[in-house]
């Protein structure tokens, strides 16, 4: 499974989005698509499980979880590529 596929699977399971996952572009605002702050916590924890790392303090900001693209950038930074 690719990084993007894993991210989309995590969002499907934990994002509680109000729109179909297939409709999301890379830069779609996930909070605008219905993801709540509480759901973003679950997304964060599920990403850590899926990629086996823990987000650093500096990564724990709303913008990290704003879109598929920003999540991928965060995962790549934390896993070293």
């Amino acid at each position: 499974m690719t990084v993007d596929e894993t991210i989309r699977q995590v969002l499907a399971e934990h994002g509680r989005l109000a729109v179909p996952l297939e409709s999301l572009a890379e830069d779609t605002d996930l909070f605008g698509a219905g993801m709540t702050s509480h759901a973003s916590v679950n997304v964060m924890l599920a990403l850590e499980d899926a990629f086996d790392f823990e987000f650093s303090e500096k990564m724990l900001k709303k913008s990290t979880f704003e879109s598929i693209a920003t999540i991928r950038a965060g995962v790549v930074e934390m896993t070293g590529g």
Partner: protein
């Protein structure tokens, strides 16, 4: 209005089921990333019996999460995610809660001139909510 400064209000609702699911799915990793030791202790032993909640009253956890979100709406952080644990719902012996800030949350409140926060929590079986009022002595209104 000048006698009391500017008032800021924050409000949030959280699904109790979603919090219960998070506790079941992620356990201590979820609980300790969001709640302080005091909050965990004050929510323990009051559970209404949710499987996998480890004795935690998930409706009380949900109300505290809503309060933390409501405080963030009062503090209005831009581009930063405050540590959830820097906003503590401190349960008083009488049963009500007071808000205690630390770290970045405390410095943001100081920068905004917010010298007083008051919170009201509520929950039913399926949803929990909180309203927070902050009093700012700053004359900054943020108009654009």
């Amino acid at each position: 209005m000048n006698a009391v400064g500017t008032l800021r209000v924050g409000m949030d609702l959280v699904s109790v089921d979603e919090v219960a699911e998070s506790v079941r799915r992620f356990g201590d990793r979820y609980v300790t990333r969001i709640y302080t030791l005091h909050e965990i202790d004050s929510c323990r032993g009051r559970s209404v019996g949710v499987d996998g909640s480890d004795g935690l009253a998930v409706e009380s956890l949900a109300a505290r999460f809503a309060a933390k979100e409501a405080v963030m709406k009062v503090l209005r952080p831009v581009g930063v995610q405050l540590d959830w644990r820097s906003i503590e719902l401190h349960q008083m012996t009488g049963g009500w809660c007071e808000i205690r800030l630390s770290g970045r949350a405390a410095s943001m409140a100081a920068e905004a001139g917010i010298d007083e926060l008051s919170v009201s929590l509520t929950h039913e079986a399926s949803v929990a909510g909180a309203v927070v009022v902050g009093r700012s002595t700053s004359s900054e209104r943020g108009d654009r």
